[in-house]
Symmetry: C2
Subunit: 595 residues, 2 copies
């Protein structure tokens, strides 16, 4: 099967009910074409071939295509894509996209505007429609990737594109290649220190082959405090040209001019951007249950009101993830995680210092965090944990747990979250890292709030039986409890990454035939391995082993073996009565239902 | 015993032979005074009292005092202290130091110029002489600390001072305190993205109470590529005033003016700086053995010459640590670790990408490193490892080992280092992190170069005996081999943080009465815990557990139980014939020598 068919077949088929009749008809034709032929070449080449084989275009305006892609996906960053669309068109018009010898190299630093390129490829006849229906659902990625016609691939960091562009400019000069590098950046990512380091280097190394195109929409996730400083850009890039970033011709002409002129430059495109995250119209009426991380802001606000505690809350543009807005005063540092930590260092000891952002982004601030964990008292790190479309790394929590003077928890109930704050009050010299899961779930009936560092039996062991037992960390406990609902495997839940288990519990766990640990978290140095290392328990460690993908939560669960049927199979694998069916989760479920 | 006496007695006594007769006489009087009285109050208060009790001054020029401190210490950053001396004097003259209600708050961002303050305190009668003789030797720290009269404490990061100052300015405004914050920064640290984030925030949050004083000596460790950009400073700080930073009066008057004027400002002090690290004159004639990390540059250069390999070498001002100079072309990114990683992202796959800096500093780039370890091929991370005066963190290697697609090694011979590079050639998709120890030692006769992922017996087990055995990681193997020279404890050496041990070796280790692992490395998530987790070996894990101190290598070894006599005691603890003496290393050594 061709790479393209593997990538899109299942998801495009699943999307059919969400398509218009005309779209569905085209997708069916494309899928049929894919099934018929064995297409060679790379993914990008296969896309071109399929588009040539089914040339009919449903839309001729890429803005319209973008809207449809997001409606079909049900999530994404539509407004961000729209704000850069004129720039994307300019890149196509100037031959910077997809050709073998472009007149300049293009680095897309605004990594999540990949869909704008897909949409433009579509209307220009180079992409088929079917892949567009798989965006964010395991098919096309929302961030740029070399396999999809981009010159660069991005996985994690914001700000990485500026580094890629400056590194490439350096390399081109070293090779004697006289072409320039065009870097598309957002005004939000330019707030990051990483981007500064790259621009300063371009100046200090006299790289005269860099054109930084800034989508100045005045917004990260929230509005920027001030517009990107033109004086700052001029200090390092020399020329700064401004243009109307919503006018295709103006952007193209300005960029063309800067490519032809000598030297470094910045092109500031004034644009507009609506809400950061796309929400389908149907979802806007009746808001569903908030994610667990979104409940932490209101919980924190309520606690501060009750205790009249002095607090300072810093976040690198992530207030929405924690439900801070309208609940809690906070300081948005912009996209600058290191700063959100650094601002805590000089505050009075008794002040509760909250730094809130994605667990992943902290990975560029671990040195500053170490400074804070050793120097600041009453430090609460709210580490949003998402394996969704953007952010999250399977090992982030473990790395945070590797810092000096920290304790890491992953609460899954309001009471557990409060217990984390109680514990910080009792032990203000230890930084408390709270992994706040970006997932929506029914809070479990049992939790560790009475014994945060200990463990609680969700399903207690039956006397005399010693088959399989499972120990879980944080959110995995919710997933396992669901999978285990009618299996009855003894299940011990922990909120602490490194729990303090009573000796009798350890003896019990050491005595079972098969011990499992489950964590929705990186295996290496994580919960299960810590239990093995500490207590020499011979546990099978189930957790995240591979790299994360840029796909939505539900797909991530399956990819990492955390979907309910997969967990059922895992738990049931050694239970004699389920032994055979356990290899296939569905059969186990069927057997249980008929029993 | 008073805090002050505990801090200085032993080291000041040890320093006596290095002092002039006049200095020694004063130190003896001060020590006698310390022994006589039970001084209360904090450390800074005790210093003042002792200075008042022994008021005689040996010197009246703080530059001369600084020179003597560094001659006595034998190491340090004399030139850096001298380049800021006029600024330090200005801070004293304007009442910013040591008082209870200073007219402005002082944050010393150039953390390692603490000695300039000690020297100035001394000539102004507030510090005794004895503590000055303990600099970098376990007494006075080279970096600023609240206990020593500073408003801020720094432990790790460069650039952290700017964060502390901006955070404090934010807090003062929030409190309605109208005073300003003066931040002393170096032009080198302003190269860091972290400093940019803080200055940008000061602008965006309209903090009008910050005066950034820049020691513009044009040098980090190496000369800066270009002077700090005044345009950049002006973009975020508004006013930029320049002055002759070597003229006490000029600096004082300028700073006084900016404190009185409204608004944010930068004061750029043009200064001069000699060599970054102080070397005593006696050491300059006959250079000793280079540290292991300093040998890696020449080894790498030789290899590249032999293989005619295309390479790109980036370092954040750390070329000297690796002996790159005069051996290897490299790009100095300035003090910008994230950039040194980011520049590798766009290079061609076959290019060998070397990023070289301190293992600690990488902790602010782990997200960018993850981008590189997943996206770049042929990536070699040279992570300098020092527990000396500056840099190094006990957990840095473990955190690097927690990244995706990495293997971590700590070679201690040239052959092991080459084996790391051979391994990278064979497996270019895995980033190879090489912990390069900043220590001078005789290379051991046995190494893992034939089996880098395995282990080698330095002292093989004798048939039939199964008392104690010890397994070591990297540099700890050198230390243990020395301690074990005549103890004969079976000693297995590994160069890999996570070795792949043959089943028979694991069985053997599982069978001994007492199994020890030793690593000069953080215990948590480190070598020993990984062996426990992986093979369920019941090993006593000996390694670094506490925070590192800002003192020289030899003191660090003892602090972490890695000095030869300490390791002898550890190894001998269970050997029956040494059982009693083992509690005190010295006695064991005596017993062995007389046997």
């Amino acid at each position: 099967m061709s790479t393209l068919r593997t990538l899109v077949h299942d998801e495009a088929t699943a999307a059919l009910p969400r398509l218009t009749p005309a779209e569905a008809a085209v997708v069916r034709r494309e899928l049929a074409e894919l099934a018929a032929g064995e297409s060679g070449g790379g993914l990008f080449e296969q896309l071109r071939k399929l588009a040539a084989a089914v040339p009919e275009r449903l839309y001729d305006d890429s803005a319209r295509v973008l809207l449809r892609m997001h409606e079909i996906a049900g999530s994404g960053n539509l407004q961000s894509n729209l704000s850069s669309l004129s720039t994307v068109r300019a890149c196509f018009d100037l031959g910077l996209v997809g050709g073998d010898t472009p007149p300049a190299e293009l680095v897309v630093g605004r990594g999540h505007i990949a869909p704008a390129f897909y949409a433009e490829h579509y209307v220009r006849g180079a992409f088929p429609f079917a892949p567009l229906t798989t965006l964010h659902r395991g098919g096309l990625t929302g961030v740029v990737h070399r396999d999809l016609g981009f010159g660069n691939t991005m996985r994690y960091s914001l700000g990485v594109g500026v580094h890629q562009a400056v590194g490439l400019a350096w390399e081109l000069r070293r090779r004697g290649d006289g072409r320039k590098v065009v870097c598309l950046a957002g005004d939000g990512e330019l707030q990051e220190g990483a981007a500064f380091e790259a621009l300063r280097f371009a100046h200090e190394a006299d790289l005269d082959n860099l054109v930084l195109v800034v989508d100045a929409n005045g917004k990260g996730i929230e509005p920027l405090a001030k517009p990107v400083s033109r004086d700052y850009l001029a200090a390092y890039l020399g020329q700064v040209v401004e243009t109307d970033g919503t006018d295709d011709n103006a952007v193209r002409d300005s960029l063309e001019g800067l490519l032809a002129a000598p030297g470094r430059a910045a092109l500031v495109c004034r644009t507009l951007k609506g809400a950061h995250s796309f929400r389908p119209p149907s979802a806007s009426g009746a808001p569903g249950r908030p994610s667990f991380s979104q409940t932490t802001g209101p919980l924190l606000a309520d606690r501060l009101r009750r205790t009249k505690r002095q607090a300072a809350v810093f976040t690198a543009d992530m207030a929405a993830r924690f439900g801070f807005k309208d609940h809690l005063p906070y300081v948005n540092t912009g996209l600058a995680e290191t700063l959100s930590v650094g601002l805590t260092l000089s505050l009075p000891d008794p002040t509760l210092k909250v730094v809130a952002t994605d667990g992943m982004y902290y990975m560029d601030s671990l040195s500053m965090l170490t400074e804070a964990t050793t120097g600041a008292r009453n430090l609460l790190v709210l580490a949003g944990k998402s394996y969704g479309q953007w952010g999250g790394a399977h090992n982030a929590v473990n790395l945070l747990g590797g810092l000096l003077n920290t304790r890491v928890y992953e609460p899954v109930t309001a009471a557990e979250f409060q217990a984390c704050l109680d514990r910080l009050d009792r032990e203000p010299g230890t930084a408390h890292v709270v992994s706040a899961v970006d997932a929506r779930f029914e809070p479990p009936g049992t939790d560790c709030s009475d014994d945060l560092d200990g463990a609680v039996w969700v399903t207690p062991p039956a006397p005399g039986r010693s088959g399989t037992a499972v120990v879980t960390f944080g959110y995995a406990g919710v997933l396992v409890a669901e999978a285990n609902a009618d299996l009855g495997v003894p299940h011990l839940h922990c909120a602490a990454l490194e729990p303090e288990l009573p000796a009798e519990t350890v003896r019990l766990l050491a005595g079972v035939e098969r011990l499992l640990t489950v964590e929705y978290n990186g295996v290496q140095g994580g919960f299960g391995e810590r239990l093995r290392a500490r207590h020499l328990l011979d546990a099978e460690v189930h957790g995240v082993r591979g790299d994360i993908l840029t796909c939505a939560h539900a797909q991530q669960l399956r990819r990492h073996g955390m979907a309910p049927d997969q967990l059922r199979a895992l738990l049931g694998a050694s239970a004699p009565s389920f032994a055979e069916g356990a290899a296939k989760g569905e059969e186990v479920r069927g057997a249980a239902a008929s029993a």
